[in-house]
């Protein structure tokens, strides 16, 4: 038997959590180095997975499957394809950075590290599992560490934010659970055995009505996670009140569970409903793009601004997904990675000045360019990536999304393109107010520029931002087969024909 790399990716973080908790209480200085080292092992594994993943192959790779519940149809079933691969890599990549960004946490830092590791394990589990019951388990259980991360180490209004986050998402999960149970009962009726297996579910024939209800049940859970307008109201509070590490993981990876769920479940399992509701979902996404950007413009709080920008950016991802074209879907999945990197970087940057000045109000800053030139440079580069400047990663994703959606929803795509302009407005205006001019406030005049640790955080993430902007091929070629498979499945199950298919791969699938 081969080395169970996927299991290792799920359980190594859990083991790391146990190791960190077991560190002697008298040696608090050990916590961060040990946690960082452990997170690098997981990152190494994830890197190995990306390299070893066969680009161009169809279906799931590295599949592991064992029955864990006898006759109840719940399997421990893991597998990775182009859709989940980079989500796993992104999770493993952001964790070491979040750990390094938590050095200023002195209060119960062991527990914070353990929570981060548990969160990582559960997130990787969500992306890798091919069993719906197990998916729900991971999906729901990661709320607990996230809840503690916000509630224990967050800002002033952390309790309210943590509870809001938990209840909002748990509300969505309730529908998801009901949907999964209903689906499993349908599968039982048709296949003759109890199953929660995702691959079995693909064979279940669902009536149009059932598809609509299930699309709704799964969709609400995922729409809250994304968050899609109008389910976004939990997000600004949670992101703003969470500690830096929490915000990075929350914005970087947690939100992607929603978009990932749309691709993995809503498109594949309920194709008829997906095709018919695509216009509606795309419209909601575009409302989110414009609304999120517009609200971000007027935020006086830098972290809140970045939080609202997520609403806008995730709107692009959802628009790309529901365009149901090769470019749109591919761009959507790529943009999930890109947003994880750029928004993750923005939250890390905001965290760095917050550590120095203990304020997030834009009005409290000004002229930082003169005092912290390196910091300003990194911030500007990340802002450009977030806006979608060519040569940086955001451009590739947004371009593909707009290209892919224009052929299906021309008006929506045009409106969405204005979102890019608005992004330039809120980010550059924020840059102007924070960094340009003279540092006329006394507190701002003696700020230390970024140190070695902070450079260590920013360099890898910036390098990836540039790399993916210049040479996205390694990522795209791994995503392509999975995307084509989704579209092929939709075309087989419905009379929908997607414009702009990549013919050579589609041929191979047939």
């Amino acid at each position: 038997m081969d080395f169970p790399i996927l299991s290792a990716l799920v359980w190594l973080p859990v083991a790391s959590a146990a190791i960190v908790v077991g560190l002697p209480r008298r040696r608090p200085e050990l916590v961060i180095p040990v946690a960082f080292g452990l997170s690098l092992i997981t990152l190494g594994l994830a890197g190995f997975l990306v390299v070893d993943f066969t680009a161009g192959d169809l279906g799931f790779q590295f599949v592991e499957r064992t029955s864990i519940s006898g006759d109840l149809g719940i399997d421990y079933h893991l597998g990775v394809d182009g859709i989940s691969l980079f989500m796993v890599a992104l999770t493993a990549f952001l964790l070491p950075l979040s750990i390094l960004a938590s050095t200023s946490v002195e209060h119960r830092s062991k527990e914070l590290m353990a929570s981060l590791f548990l969160l990582e394990g559960a997130l990787i589990g969500v992306f890798l599992t091919l069993d719906l019951a197990l998916f729900f388990v991971f999906f729901e259980v990661l709320l607990v560490p996230m809840y503690f991360i916000i509630g224990l180490w967050g800002g002033e209004r952390r309790l309210e934010a943590a509870l809001k986050f938990f209840l909002f998402t748990a509300f969505g999960s309730a529908f998801l659970l009901a949907g999964i149970i209903f689906l499993s009962v349908q599968a039982n009726d048709q296949l003759g055995s109890i199953t929660f297996n995702y691959l079995d579910m693909l064979d279940v024939e669902l009536s149009r009505t059932a598809q609509f209800w299930l699309f709704g049940a799964f969709g609400i859970a995922f729409a809250i996670k994304v968050p899609l307008f109008p389910f976004h109201t939990w997000l600004p509070d949670a992101h703003t009140e969470a500690p830096t590490a929490g915000s990075v993981i929350l914005a970087g990876v947690l939100l992607k569970m929603g978009t990932y769920g749309f691709v993995r479940f809503n498109l594949n399992l309920f194709p008829e409903a997906a095709v018919e509701l695509a216009g509606f979902m795309a419209a909601l996404a575009v409302v989110g793009i414009i609304y999120g950007a517009a609200v971000a413009i007027v935020q006086p709080d830098l972290k809140r601004l970045v939080a609202y920008s997520s609403v806008s950016h995730l709107g692009f991802v959802v628009l790309g997904i529901f365009a149901l074209t090769s470019q749109g879907l591919e761009g959507g999945i790529l943009q999930m990675v890109n947003h994880g990197l750029t928004t993750g970087a923005l939250f890390l940057l905001v965290g760095m000045i917050y550590e120095r000045r203990h304020t997030r109000r834009i009005a409290d800053y000004g002229g930082l360019q003169k005092v912290m030139p390196w910091f300003a440079g990194f911030f500007l580069l990340t802002a450009f990536a977030s806006i979608g400047l060519p040569g940086l990663n955001g451009f590739v994703g947004e371009f593909l999304i707009l290209l892919g959606s224009y052929s299906r929803f021309p008006i929506l795509a045009v409106v969405a393109a204005f979102g890019v302009v608005l992004a330039a407005v809120y980010l550059l205006w924020a840059y102007e107010r924070v960094f340009t001019g003279e540092p006329d406030r006394e507190e701002n005049q003696n700020l230390r520029d970024i140190g070695l640790r902070e450079v260590g955080i920013l360099v890898p993430i910036t390098a990836l931002i540039i790399f993916l902007g210049v040479y996205p091929k390694p990522v795209l070629e791994r995503i392509e087969p999975a995307v084509e498979q989704v579209l092929e499945r939709i075309e087989q199950r419905t009379d929908f024909e997607s414009p702009l298919r990549l013919d050579d791969i589609a041929e191979e699938i047939r």
Binding site: I68, S69, G70, D71, L72, A133, F136, V137, F138, E140, V141, L143, V144, Y147, F148, G151, L152, R158, L159, A162, L163, F166, L167, A170, F171, S173, A174, F175, L177, A178, I181, F182, S184, V185, N188
Partner: protein, 480 residues
């Protein structure tokens, strides 16, 4: 009369012998309280072993003994085993309270064992009269336990309330038995099923009324809405050390009895009673959850949550015989959770305490990390978060209910479980994220409570992560 099988009533005999031994030794000798405790533990262990022997004996050859009075089937055996384990945990949790009773400890322990004997017999009754008798044995012991400390006004109020309403429910139950007898001409639980399967009733009114009253009577015992009014006052008024046992024991045995008569006797009429049970389930879930939201006392909160959980367990019953294994799974794992939760309450508020304000829990994580950790785990499990037994139980009963066509009920249930998270999380927030009150005491858990909590935590996690083994057992624990 050759139909005697001592094995069929073995666990009951073991417990009764324990009761007699404790009472006689206590009046005859000046003994250490520990000796009495060990006797109680020994009789529970004997009941456990005899339950396992019953399982071995009955798994191939389920039958009834004592001329159809007592069932010797896997269902009864599992009930005996589960209740014996619950009894051991309850004894550990109640031990500080028992010691505090001074000279009356013998009566206290005897009542616990007697209640358990009644509860075990409830799960094993194959005859309505037997069921009624065991129900009364259990109930009367529990009434007395509720008001065991005579000086405590709250306890007395609880006991009286429990007694009056409980007697009323018993009367309703008995009336149901009478009507069922009038319709079928038999008092045997299996005989009723045989009669109904081979005869068509021209007038089913009396039978329907009988089934309805039987369900109402037992719904009262398991505190399902709208027959739940007594539960909050009683669980709050009783001493914290014993409330957990009252909740856990009554739930397991009450649901066992309800499941047995519903899916055995009245299975041919499942289309008539299942909708009624579904309505009871939905009402319990909604009423329990909504009222729990408003509580500021943790014992009342747990009492209302037990009403909601009664509703979740009833959700499994609408699926008939298919749901029975998961009723077992849910009620047994719930029993341990509620025992553990009340164990923590009895440490924080004192074993004899009857009130326990939620505000006492502010900052508990710093004062007593182990207690806070266990309570947090139990709250997550009661709230139905995955990897805990509370989630697995919910998943299974919901699945059976959807399979039986009760999607609406499951939707009500899942939405209510989210609302429920609000008050379970509030306890966690208080313990971990609030500064502690300055006057707060440092609660110290004794050894017995530590052991009980460890066991409960292990069970909750183990059956949450690997439910397989218990599922395998309960899927064979079916009634005759």
């Amino acid at each position: 009369m050759t139909d005697i099988s001592y094995l069929a009533i073995g666990p009951v005999i073991a417990l009764t012998v324990g009761v007699l031994a404790i009472l006689l030794i206590a009046v005859s000798f000046k003994t250490d309280e520990r000796v009495l405790g060990w006797i109680a533990a020994a009789s529970l262990l004997a009941a456990f072993v005899l339950g396992v022997l019953q399982w071995v004996e009955a798994s191939d050859n389920p039958t009834t003994r004592f001329n159809g009075m007592v069932a010797l089937d896997p269902f009864a055996a599992f009930g005996a085993v589960a209740l014996a384990v619950v009894g051991v945990v309850a004894l550990l949790v109640a031990w500080p309270l028992a010691v505090a009773q001074g000279k009356r400890i013998a009566e206290f322990l005897a009542l616990i064992l007697l209640a358990l004997a009644g509860l075990i017999l409830m799960a094993a009754s194959a005859h309505f009269i037997m069921l009624f008798l065991s129900l009364e044995v259990a109930s009367i012991s529990l009434y007395v336990l509720a008001g065991f400390s005579r000086q405590d006004a709250d306890g007395n109020e609880a006991a009286l309330k429990y007694f009056l309403l409980g007697s009323f429910a018993s009367a309703v139950f008995l009336y149901g038995v009478a009507l069922s007898y009038a319709a079928t001409g038999t008092l045997s639980i299996t005989g009723t099923a045989e009669f109904l399967e081979s005869n068509v009733l021209l007038e089913s009114g009396a039978l329907m009324a009988g089934i309805g009253l039987l369900i109402v009577g037992l719904a009262f015992k398991v505190s399902a809405a709208p027959f739940h009014m007594w539960a909050p006052d009683v669980y709050q008024g009783a001493a914290s050390g014993i409330s957990g046992f009252m909740t856990a024991g009554a739930k397991i045995a009450g649901f066992a009895a309800l499941a047995r008569i519903a899916v055995t006797s009245f299975n041919p009429y499942i289309d008539d009673w299942a909708p009624a049970v579904a309505v009871l389930a939905a009402l319990s879930i909604v009423v329990g959850t909504l009222l729990a939201l408003a509580q500021s006392d943790i014992k009342r909160m747990l009492a209302y949550s037990s009403i909601a959980h009664a509703g979740f367990i009833l959700t499994g019953l609408v699926a008939g015989i298919d749901g029975v294994p998961f009723i077992w799974f849910y009620s047994v794992t719930y029993a341990f959770q509620v025992l553990g939760a009340f164990a923590v309450v009895s440490v924080v508020g004192g074993p004899a305490g009857t009130r326990s304000a939620l505000s006492d829990y502010a900052g508990l994580a710093q004062r007593a990390p182990v207690l806070a950790g266990s309570l947090a785990l139990l709250m997550l499990s009661l709230g139905g978060i995955p990897l805990t037994a509370g989630f697995t139980g919910k998943l299974f009963v919901f699945r059976e209910a959807v399979d039986a066509g009760y999607l609406w009920l499951v939707l009500v249930a899942v939405i209510a479980s989210v609302a429920g998270l609000f008050f379970y999380l509030r306890v966690i927030v208080l313990m971990y994220m609030h500064p502690q009150a300055e006057t707060a005491l440092e609660p110290v858990a004794g050894d017995s409570i530590r052991i009980a909590l460890t066991f409960v935590a292990v069970v909750t996690l183990a059956f949450g992560i690997v439910p397989g083994p218990l599922i395998d057992v309960v899927t064979s624990a079916l009634p005759l």
